[in-house]
Structures are given as C-alpha cells and as structure tokens.
C-alpha cells in the first residue's frame, strides 16, 4: 500500500515537473531525496567503447539515472551498483566481460549494454544463467533474436524499413537501393525489412551489400546510382556514411537522388561533417523522439544527465536508450519485495514488464517471455537542417516489416 502511494506521489511529481523547465530537479525512483544505504544491488553493462565507434553513452546514461535513484531512496532503501565493462569490439573480450559480470560480480541483470559483438557471443550464457539484459542499443540480428536480450532501440532492419516507407510516402519513390555492410548477421538481414515491405507494397528495393573495409566509397555510390533509383537508403555506421555522402556530393548525386538513412546518422557532428550540400536534403529515421523534444520524460532525462552525469557524457540517442533501460529496470525492481531480490525473481519481474510509457518512445514498451524481443518498432523522421536536425514526419511511423508479424501478434494480446 505504501509503495502504491509513493508511486502515485512520484507520478504526480513527474506530471508537475513536466511543466517546469529543463533545469528542474530530475525525478527518479522513489524521489524522496534520501540517500540509499542498504545492501547494494549489483547490475552490469557491456559496452563497445574502444573500437570503430564508442557506444558507451548508453551505459553512462544508465549510470547517471541509477545515481539519481540512489540519491532518492534507492530501490526501497537499497542502492544500485552498475559495473560497466568495455568489450573493445572484440568477441573474446566480450565473453570475458560477461564472465566477469555474471559469474564473478554475480549481477542480477544487465542494464544499458550497447555492443556490436556481445549478443552472439553471450546470448547463451545469459540464457543459461537466466540473466535478463535490458540493453540500450543492439545492432546485429542476434540481439533481436535472443530469449534474454531486450534492446530498447529499434535496430537497423526496422530503421531501414521505416525510412524506406517514408521515402515512398514523401518522395513517391518507386525504386530504391539499400546499402548495407556485408558483415554476417547484418548484410543478409538489415536491408531485407525494406525489401520485403517493398515487395508487398509495389516498391522495388535493391540490396547492395558492400565491403565495409573498402577505401573507395566513390565506386559504391556510382554502382548504387547506376541502378537509377529514386532514393538511396544508407544503412551503414556513420563512420562509413560520411565518406559515402562526400563521394555522392562530389559525383553530383545529391541533387539527382533522394538520400535517406537509418538511425546511425542521427548524431550532432554529422550535419557539420557532411556539409551544406545536404541541408534539407537528407532524411533520417530516429529510434526515439528527437533529443531536443519537450516531452516531460525527455526533459527529465536531460535533467538527470545534468545533475548526475559528467560533463563529457554525450547527450545523444544512445543516452536516451540507456536512460530508458535504467528506468524500465528501476520501475520493475521497485515493484518487488526488497528482501527477495535475487536473479530469478528479477528476471521474472523484467519479463513481466508491459505497458511501460515514456514520451521518448513512440509506443509503450514491453518485454514479455517470448523467444525474441523487438518492442521498439517505430519512430519519427528528422531531416538535416543547418547545423542540426528538424522533424519532418507527422509523429511516428510504424514499421510494416513482415518479419515482425510474430511480435505484432504478441502486441495484440497485450492490447497495444
């Protein structure tokens, strides 16, 4: 009873703070301002930090949120300790990291993980040890097809599908080329959502699997353009995307073909890097609402980072994902009996998560006990504008990817 009352108070406080400016005090957990001092709850995160890109922003945001929770009564008095390990984009190190967290540290769950390589390597360990992973960001196929792995983001397949749907809607594109790196679990999967959607909707989507290590982006762009598409979908990491756009600009393609991209391009250094030729000319699917949106939860995320994150922590969509993951886990833990918090009960509680609402997400988030998880399958479209972005879609588009049919069934049962 007391817990319910506290939650009502917390919800009311959240509503009230929604009207205030971003500098407001962040609202998290029990929100009672008391430092938690009980027996710590161990959680972990595996992030790909040293390597082709730095995904650590999500775990850092989770950590900021947990610091806020610890300063506000903890999990019914118990503080949360999040241990973050860098897997250096190396599968061997990812296995070591999981061993360290799951077996040595004995974490109860993983929160805010963001790694390109750990899903395939560690999925079996997580299933065996019954550790649930509420991940910030997952990329390859095995992150979305594992029993215990729950990414908060939408994934490259969904992202490419949504942006293809937008291109068909906004530019009446009938022929598209989808560019994807030829890495196993990505090259044969992530553009197929757009392709399969296109087949069912009279749009011809050609998949171009490229060698990500190739130094020659010009030939790739020439090859894509040779197919005479109305739109080119770039479904590649931003490090490869920037040279591709540079090559496209040099070959004069920016004015002839519509260029759109899945979510990796949504980064605040990208507009300046790609230059003025793409101003108002490059559309990107976002997995969450834009970083500058004025929703209450989004402002709360910013306030949490301001108060409990360090200055160097990025405030980007990865951080939004980490914040959401931490919030999901916190709310699930708060519902539990503080004396009976162990791995099995935490995993059960996390599987029970449904109807999680946040204005950062387009739809309610859920976990469920299915064999795979991909609850976030919609998002808005933003366009490069000046040195930033502006939203160009009316709200969110939901991916009509035939592969998601099993999840749509589940969602119908949940009443979503």
């Amino acid at each position: 009873m007391k817990i319910t009352l506290q939650r009502i108070v917390a919800a009311a406080a959240l509503l009230a703070s929604g009207a205030a400016m971003a500098q407001a005090k962040p609202v998290c957990g029990l929100n009672n301002g008391k430092a938690a001092s009980g027996e710590p709850i161990a959680l972990g995160a595996v992030v790909g930090k040293t390597g082709p890109d730095d995904f650590s922003a999500s775990a850092l945001a989770s950590q900021a949120y947990f610091k806020c929770v610890n300063a506000n009564g903890g999990i019914n008095g118990r503080p949360v300790e999040l241990t973050i390990v860098d897997d250096q984009w190396n599968p061997e190190v990812a296995a070591q990291a999981a061993a360290k967290l799951v077996k040595d540290r004995k974490v109860l769950a993983m929160v805010g993980s963001s790694s390109f390589v750990e899903c395939g390597v560690n999925a079996k360990l997580y299933a065996q040890e019954d550790v649930m992973v509420i991940a910030g960001v997952g990329v390859p196929r095995e992150c979305f097809f594992a029993k215990n792995y729950v990414p908060v983001n939408a994934g490259p397949r969904v992202s490419a599908t949504v942006v293809a749907m937008y291109a068909a809607q906004a530019y009446k594109a009938k022929k598209m080329v989808c560019v994807i790196p030829n890495i196993p679990s990505l090259g044969n999967w992530a553009c197929d959502g757009a392709k399969d959607w296109g087949k069912a909707n009279g749009v011809d989507v050609d998949v171009l699997a490229i060698d990500p290590g190739s130094p020659d982006a010009t030939s790739t762009m020439l090859q894509a353009a040779a197919k005479k598409p109305d739109a080119i979908i770039l479904n590649v990491p931003k490090g490869i995307m920037v040279p591709m756009l540079a090559a496209a600009e040099q070959q004069g393609l920016a004015k002839k073909i519509h260029f759109v991209s899945s979510t990796p391009a949504y980064n605040f250094d990208v507009p300046k890097a790609i230059g003025a030729a793409w101003n108002g000319n490059f559309d990107i699917h976002l997995e969450f609402m834009p970083v500058e949106s004025a929703g209450a939860d989004n402002l709360n995320w910013k306030a949490t980072m301001e108060a409990f994150g360090s200055k160097s922590d990025p405030r980007d969509s990865f951080a939004q994902a980490g914040y959401l993951a931490a919030r999901i886990v916190t709310e699930a833990l708060l519902k539990m009996d503080p004396k009976k918090i162990d791995r099995a009960s935490v995993s059960a509680a996390l599987r029970n998560v449904k109807g999680f609402k946040s204005d950062i997400l387009c739809r309610q988030f859920y976990v469920g006990d299915g064999a795979r998880h991909n609850a976030n399958s919609s998002g808005p479209i933003s366009q490069v504008s000046g040195n930033g972005f502006k939203q160009v879609s009316n709200g969110c588009l939901m991916a009509a990817d035939p592969e998601l049919s099993d999840l749509r069934e589940q969602e119908k049962k949940f009443g979503l």
């Binding site: 061997e92 190190v93 360290k100 077996k103 079996k124 290590g213």
Partner: protein
C-alpha cells in the same frame, strides 16, 4: 665429448623436456583454484595463443623466417574445427586435430611460393596472405550451426561449439588447454632434438651449406611451415572451444603482426617465450581493461612497452629472465 658427457647431456635434455611439460601441466591444475572467472577465461585464451606463438617462434627462432600470417592460420583452424564440430558432430579432440592439420596444410601451401624468399620479402608476402584472409573471413564469418558450406545459421540463435566431455567447466577447460599446450611444446622440442632440428639449424646457416650437407631444404622448410601451421590451427580450434564461436572481424592482418611482434618480445628461442607471448597478447590487455584504463591509452602503453622490450631484450623477455636466473645460479654456485 666422452660417452659419459653425452649420456649426461642426453639425460639433462630429457629432464628439461619433462620439466617443461610438468610446469605447464602444473599451471593447468593450479590456476583454476586461484583465479576468478574473468581471469580463467583470459588465461585460457593466453594459453591457446601461446601454442600459436610457439609456432611463430619455431619459424623465426629455428629458421630465421618471418611469418606474418599465423593468426590467419589460427582462423583457418578455428573455421575447420567449427565446421566439423557443428556439421559432422565429431568429438572435440577430432575437431582440434582436424583444425590443426588443415591449418598445417594451408601453411605448407602458403610456404611453397615463399620458399626462395627471405627476410622482409617473405614477411610482406605472408602479410598479403593475412590481408586477403581478413577480407574473406569478415564477409563469410565462421560456422555457427547452419547448413551449407559456410555453415552460417539464420533464423535462430547462433550455436556454440560443444566442449569435450571431460572439460565442460571453465577451470576444467583451462586445464585441457594447458594439456594441449604441453603436448604441442613437447612435439616442437622433440623435433628440435632430432634430424629435423639439425636440418633447420643448417638451413639457418645458409641454404648452400645445408644443400652441401645433404639436407633436403624443400622438405624441411615446408615441414617447418606445416608444423607452425598445425600449432596455429590447434590454437584456433581451442580458442573456438573457449568462446564457443569466433567472429570474422577479430582476424585482421594486424593481429598476425601483433602475434609475431609479441612472440619476438616473449622470446623466440625458449619455450617459456611462447607462454610469455600468450600472456602479453591477452592477459596484459585484460589487466588494463580490468583496471579501467582507457583502451587507447592502453594501446600507447603497449606500443611503448614493445619498443622498450625490443631495445633492451634482444633474446626476448624469457631470454632476459633466463639469463638473469642463470647468473644468479652461477653466483650461488661460486
């Protein structure tokens, strides 16, 4: 050289061999009791890579040949082990042997055009092979339970290679890898003491010298490449058993270069050097990650340490420590 002194030498050599095997097996038995899960996993990788480093050391220490594609042969061994393990369900030992032998054959084939090349030219050619392998394996990936030649699964979770029945747990698998390391080191040492080793020593002096002494240079050089390949293949198969899967992006050409560099630093003339190389390749970076050192600063530190070791320890770290130990022992005797 008297019959007595020969007998003493032979006995000393036998004892040295037994000592080496004993030390490695003892490590295999003791470490699981002392280390936590993170370190057991790390040290398992270190021991597996020590086998590959022993192969590199064979080529460089015995024959003066530089091979910059040994990590790729590791990948070949791992690929074959995974393919036969998932596809034909062979017992683990058979997978390791298959991996080792296939990498040995590929190593021999790679060694053939390189036969007349020496020094840096050979190094560059092997680097080209490593570069080519990197591109191919990044695109095809490793088998993980699927059907077809490439054995890639799609539509469900990636499978892990099942471990041997008596080495399912982490500690048990560590001891298992240690046993393989002891066996491979003993194999190399026995080669060194027999005709093969003498032929290699002559080839190192000069091909003309060797031919003049009646050594079949083609055979023994190819044999050395094959043996180094077997070491790499066995290491790859054991690594695939350790993690359960291998990822195509972890087999870049730079890994082969690092393997060579660290084998050199560990000491290419001693068996302990291979062990040191394995530790440098996996345990030292893991230590830095464990301590929370930024990955790139760790890289700077590594590069500086590489230069330092290269400059101050011509016979490698193992050689340096052995020399210091022997000096201490001599002082004790005096």
């Amino acid at each position: 050289m008297t019959p007595d002194s020969i007998r003493r030498e032979r006995r000393a050599a036998r004892l040295a061999l037994l000592r080496m095997v004993f030390v490695v097996l003892a490590l295999g038995a003791l470490v699981p009791w002392l280390a936590n899960a993170y370190w057991i996993k790390t040290l398992t990788s270190s021991l597996a890579l020590a086998i590959a480093a022993a192969g590199v050391a064979l080529l460089y220490g015995q024959l003066g040949l530089v091979s910059l594609c040994q990590y790729s042969l590791l990948g070949v061994g791992g690929w074959v082990a995974l393919r036969v393990g998932h596809g034909l369900h062979w017992p683990f030992e058979a997978c390791v042997v298959a991996g080792g032998l296939s990498a040995g054959v590929v190593g021999m084939l790679a060694g053939l055009p390189a036969l007349r090349m020496k020094g840096l030219y050979l190094a560059l050619v092997t680097l080209m092979l490593a570069g080519g392998f990197q591109v191919v394996i990044s695109a095809t990936g490793f088998p993980d339970g699927g059907a077809g030649f490439l054995g890639r699964i799609s539509g469900s979770e990636r499978l892990m290679l099942p471990r041997p029945a008596l080495a399912q747990g982490e500690g048990a698998y560590f001891a298992y890898v240690a046993a393989w390391l002891a066996a491979m080191l003993a194999l190399l040492e026995l080669h060194r003491r027999t005709r093969a080793g003498r032929s290699w020593a002559l080839i190192r002096r000069g091909e003309a010298v060797a031919e003049g002494a009646g050594v079949n240079v083609l055979l023994y050089q190819t044999w050395a490449f094959g043996l180094a390949g077997v070491c790499a293949g066995v290491a790859g198969a054991l690594l695939s058993g350790a993690v359960g899967q291998l990822d195509g992006r972890a087999f870049a050409a730079s890994e082969s270069v690092m393997l060579f560099a660290l084998s050199l630093i560990g000491g290419a003339y001693y068996w302990a050097g291979a062990l040191v190389a394995g530790l440098l390749l996996r345990a030292v970076p893991s230590l830095l990650v464990d301590l929370g050192v930024n990955g790139y600063l760790a890289m700077v530190f590594f590069g500086a340490a590489l230069l330092h070791a290269l400059i101050t320890a011509p016979r490698g770290l193992a050689g340096q420590w052995l020399a210091a130990f022997q000096r201490r022992a001599a002082k004790g005797r005096a």
